[in-house]
Amino acid sequence: MPETLYSKVFDRHIVRELAPGQYQLYVGLHLIHEVTSPQAFAELRDRRLKVRTPERTFATADHAIPTDGSRRPYADVLNEAQVAAIERSAADLGIRYFSPERGEHGVVHVIAPERGLTQPGMTVACGDSHTSTHGAFGALAFGIGTSQVRDVLATQTLAMTRLKTRKVAIQGRLAAGITAKDLALHLIRRLGVRGGVGYAYEYCGSAVEALSMDERMTLCNMAIEGGARCGYVNPDEVTYTYLEGREYTPVGSAWDRAVAYWESVRSDPNATYDHLVDFDASDVRPTVTWGINPEQAVAIDETLPDPASFNGADRMVAEEAYAFMGLTPGSPIEGTPINVAFIGSCTNGRTSDFEAVARLLQHSGRKVSPRVRALAVPGSQRVRDELIAKGIDEVFRQAGFEFREAGCSMCLALNADKLRGSEMCASSSNRNFKGRQGSPTGRTLLMSPQMVAAAAIEGAVVDARRMFSGV
């Protein structure tokens, strides 16, 4: 019987059925970071349990780590305590730790792919909701809480129920100047932030096949923002080309066996899904959020919607969003003033994101508005090193950006990178929730890195295609 990648990979990782509909699932790759793991390690110590499979567990520090070049011990004692705790746990328990001291750290969803740890046909778990990112490789990847981090550390397995599958087919091609971020925001706008609850999203169609791995990661990263705990793309030549030669990917004859396995997990042509939905890539325009969740978004040439255009619950959320954001229904999104610009995060913090922006900055010669504080935060130290080697750090600095060290930074503001007061931030991150960027009254407009750069220059939301039209 034809099957989806989801069911092939899920079935392959079942250890046993725990209860009707609930399975003990083997976790092929477990990623941990400093914020959601310390309580799990404490429970292991309390119960005198070991880490069962340290060689399939990889650690780093990303969420709370400073990005301003501070060195250990960090001045912020809470940041220091969290980083020291994971460092010690990893050393004591034989877990490979991508260390800030050695310049190896980065956002967990950036470093696992770039080192070749994430591969097709794996199960990947991490105490972070954006673990969905790894689905870009055709892995089954999902975020878990700290109790489940404990379960995986102790047993390399999880108790899981099956998700339904939705085939999200995007046909055609994205137009010039349209990014994977625009596509991700467009899909969430159409399917809603709770449309994916209970589903795994399979992204497919010619527009998805044409995406690079970095772009597929941006797309799958935001699956969770549409309510889908995991999203994935079937592996193909683009995937294999990306993986070949990375430090944790197989070589020689093992590579051939790997590719054979990876090919075998692709969804079969006639596989059945619980739901299908089609999109036309040519409908996607630069998309910007205006509210307090990622479905509250419009295309750059649109005006903000009337709350009355939404039904019941969503109408209330729209009214709440307008009150919080200080925006007015009927006004254009273009021209909305901003105070802060942030390029980075697991959504858009990879080398290609910064390269694309640097090209626009360099060729236009434009500078960040003096009214705007602009941060460029690489997703990993390796990304940072690559950018420096290409001189891209200087392009950002010359344009008026601060060029930082790797970390999650202003995506969730667990370190010193925060909005102040009710600042408005043009952000390449993934969440525009109330208070998300570190100030309870701070406001976030989600958009692509290119659109963030354009907003930083203009001091207001603007169509990047027009600003950089000569480039």
């Binding site: 003990q24 109790s147 108790a159 309510g227 959320v317």
Partner: protein, 207 residues
């Protein structure tokens, strides 16, 4: 928690409602409380920014309203607990005395995290949710009884059907929501499962 061995098949008490769809876990537990190495003290900080904003606007947030002070059942709308996987959100609610969450739908990671610490997230129909919110406005101390055996919720004299995946329901009724014990039972079987995976088995040997 001393109730571990008793199970949570029946939860009785009073309820408090949080209005609004898509309440994310950043709202439930602001990120600044993710900087500690333990979950201690989180109960004081649930909905903190919403509570401060309400106070500043001269309103009273339900979690600061004396009428709901002893509430142990939380009534919510759609997609409650969406967003971040932070277990700090359910840990905070639990430490604030919440024993069960009743709502139209839930963020999945949040719901899993709740079950993992013995807090059922049960689903109800939108019309029932609206009615419960009305009841709670009229009679803040209305007696609630959630029965996972019968899959029912009594609110005063009113009876509502509730939904909960069977696997979670059994774990909660049996007092076995901590999955680790069951997962640990299967040591050798776990190794066999790993060996069947081409990327881990030494016979097919990716490495």
């Amino acid at each position: 928690m001393t109730e571990t061995s008793l199970g949570r098949g029946q939860i009785e008490g009073t309820a408090v409602a949080i209005d609004g769809a898509n309440i994310d876990t950043d709202r439930i537990m602001p990120a600044r409380y993710l900087r500690q190495l333990t979950f201690d003290g989180l109960g004081a900080h649930v909905f903190e920014d919403d509570r401060l904003a309400a106070r500043a606007a001269g309103r009273v947030h339900p979690f600061d309203d004396p009428g709901y002070r002893d509430a142990n059942i939380l009534v919510v709308e759609q997609n409650f607990g969406c967003g971040s996987s932070r277990e700090h959100a359910p840990q905070g609610l639990s430490r604030a005395g919440i024993r069960a969450v009743v709502g139209e739908s839930f963020g999945e990671i949040f719901a899993d995290n709740c079950v993992a610490i013995g807090v059922p997230c049960v689903t109800i129909e939108p019309a029932d949710a609206a009615q419960l919110r009305d009841f709670l406005v009229d009679v803040p101390g209305l007696a609630f009884r959630l029965d996972l055996h019968a899959k029912t919720l009594h609110a005063g004299n009113h009876l509502i059907r509730v939904g909960l995946p069977d696997s979670a329901r059994r774990r909660l009724i049996d007092g076995k929501w901590d999955a680790l014990a069951a997962l640990l039972e299967t040591g050798p079987i776990i190794e066999e499962a790993a060996k069947r995976l081409p990327y881990l088995s030494r016979s097919m040997l990716f490495d």
